[in-house]
Amino acid sequence: MPLTKIADFKIERLEILGADGRCDEALVPVISKEKMLEIYRMLVLIRVFDEKAFKLQRQGRLGTYPQILGQEATQIVPPMCLEKKDWLIPTYRGQGSYFARGMPLVNSLLYWGGDDRGAKLPDGQNDMIFAIPVGSHLTHAVGVAMAAQYRKDSAVALTYLGDGASSKGDFYEAMNFAGVYKAPVIFFVENNQWAISVSRKTQTSAQTIAQKAIGCGLSGIQVDGNDVFAVYRAVQEAIARARRGDGASVIEAETYRLGDHTTADDSSRYRSKEEIDLWKDRDPIARFRVFLTAQNVLTEDADLEVRRAAEEKVRSAIDEYESVPEPNPLSMFELIYGEPTWNILEQRAEFERYWASGSSRRETLASAGEGRFP
């Protein structure tokens, strides 16, 4: 009996816009000038937001914060390919993705400032609140997609994960469900090369994360995640495939976490400055700016205006954040059940008595110190 090849697979990588701002004309997706500018404005906005949020944390005005720096294209481009009826199921390092879907900037500040009200999505928006336990939300995305199928809606679900989460069993289970039921879901892997201190190479011995799709019968592709056009094109194709009923996709977008894991981390313990510098040269915003300028879509003045407008928006979000009154402690007892049960009501009353008896104990967020996280 001969040994025969019964299957053959390949993994492709898509790059369109180079780090020098030049691009492969044949592959550039069709995007209107206005849409390109809209993307650019979002890229700049999330960068400015990220810079300011980081500073707020360092000044003791915000809690632990996960920086987005360097991942702007992977954050904002995929959600901008979605329609309103679609669903986004993001991760905790997802400020850009949910801002791009319409979440107000102030919400993220409230959330990372320790205020549950920040987690409230705007009315009429389908998306889910991001998950903190890594990878645990991926099956939710498949469930959303299967429900859309069941309802015969043409909505798709877009979910994010990182290179770290690709090691979780949840990822395999989610992909396998999606494969079996041809669920209209897109797994967007934001491979930022580091899961805290564990490098992509240490995370898996697979050559690419994209190829994990093959084991579950899904489409898989790797793209340059700092390339707005490559991300846009790959996501558009995956969405079209999902809407046609041709199943789920995995897009591995290679990017880089230029900041620490969170403001509680110190990445100099585990990675070199040279590596960071190398990735700084592949900045997703800079190359898109070069392209837009060369195409006369963006003038220098217009660029300054984009930056000024972003700073203004962020400043006003910070003002709003800092003027929101402290949350009402009684909100702890709300929304635990559809209707509160006796123990919740009793404990709420107990708390009210206790609270009324003492000082209100309101305090502003103090500077980081002993006993703080971590």
């Binding site: 809690g63 903190i132 645990s136 509680a264 971590p374």
Partner: protein, 325 residues
């Protein structure tokens, strides 16, 4: 005898034990190069190599399952789950495997591993980083659960856990990783698993607690001293098996018992301790046992955590209520 904090004393225990016990391997997310996000395993990979201090892929269930296999082979894996909020994903291994392996294999194998995890809140942490899941573990047969509240106990309990033939879940109160220091003996010593500690002697009321909250109870006791109420504080140290002897001795003396925990109330460890006291010492009690706990709600984000976790005032109020019953 150097002054160490809790993080340093656990690190020292691991370091000393690994020198003489080649069964020990450490595995977890970021435990190697980074020395753990709380630096508990700092320097261990340098000292003992990447074969014994393993930076794993990001997969909690995998970490614990692999540890079960290593333990079956005769190693002593000490695995770290980075945050308490990530423990739920390992419960399949905890409930279905490691607590049962000895009996299921009719004594052939035992999963004598140690599962370390930070515990508790009040550090302004992000969501899912301030949990108190001890009851899930204490409820599961075949597992010992410990939680030190002092650096000295932390080292002794870790060294005892390493010698324990059973799986040990080792909770580390993250609020006091660095805020409490004391002299910790250089030499190797064990603090027996299953033995509570009288953290403060008193004759009027017993307050039972564990982890970081023990220190809050001591604060409450101090407050009540000024009001003429002499409070005894029991630091449970081991949550499974509970040191019932220590509890009954104290409650028989004081006739008043308050249990304080960070976890929610319903079906909690406090519920179990209350039941034990009522079953065995009802006639010694001068008032019903009281529980001071986190509410039966989700742990709120940190702006409200001071209202969620018991503080000294709430604990003192509960003691006053039992005293005036």
């Amino acid at each position: 005898m150097p002054e160490l904090n809790l993080a340093q004393s656990i690190n020292q225990a691991l370091h000393q034990a690994m020198k003489t016990d080649d069964r020990i391997v450490i595995l977890g997310e970021d435990v190697g190069v980074n020395g753990g996000v709380f630096r508990i395993t700092d320097g261990l990979q340098k000292a003992f190599g990447a074969e014994r201090v393993i930076d794993t892929p990001l997969a909690e269930l995998g970490i614990v399952g692999v540890s079960v296999g290593m333990a079956a082979y005769g190693l002593k894996p000490i695995c770290e789950i980075q945050f308490d909020g990530f423990l739920p994903s390992v419960m399949d291994q905890v409930i279905n495997h490691f607590g049962r392996l000895r009996q299921r294999s009719q004594g052939k194998h035992a999963a004598g591993l140690i599962l370390r995890s930070p515990h508790g809140g009040m550090v302004h942490a992000p969501e899912h980083h301030s949990e108190s899941p001890e009851a899930y573990f204490a409820h599961t047969p075949g597992i010992k659960v410990v939680i030190p509240s002092t650096p000295k106990d932390a080292k002794g309990l870790m060294l005892a856990a390493i010698q324990c033939p059973d799986p040990v879940v080792f909770f580390e109160p993250k609020r006091i990783y660095r805020s409490i220091k004391e002299n910790v003996p250089d030499e190797s010593y064990e603090v027996a698993i299953g033995k509570a500690r009288v953290a403060r002697e008193g004759k009027d009321a017993t307050v039972i607690s564990w982890g970081a909250l023990v220190h809050t109870c001591l604060e409450a006791a101090q407050k009540l001293q000024g009001e003429g109420v002499d409070v005894e504080v029991i630091d449970l140290r081991t949550l499974s098996p509970i040191d019932i002897g220590a509890i009954l001795t104290s409650v028989s003396k004081t006739g008043h018992a308050v249990i304080a925990q960070e976890a929610p109330k319903t079906c909690s460890l406090a519920s179990e301790i209350s039941a034990l006291i009522h079953e065995r010492a009802l006639l010694k009690l001068q008032a019903p046992v009281r529980r001071v706990t986190g509410w039966d709600t989700r742990t709120p984000l940190f702006r409200l955590e001071k209202y969620y976790f018991p503080d000294a005032a709430r604990i003192a109020a509960a003691v006053r209520e039992t005293m005036s019953f």
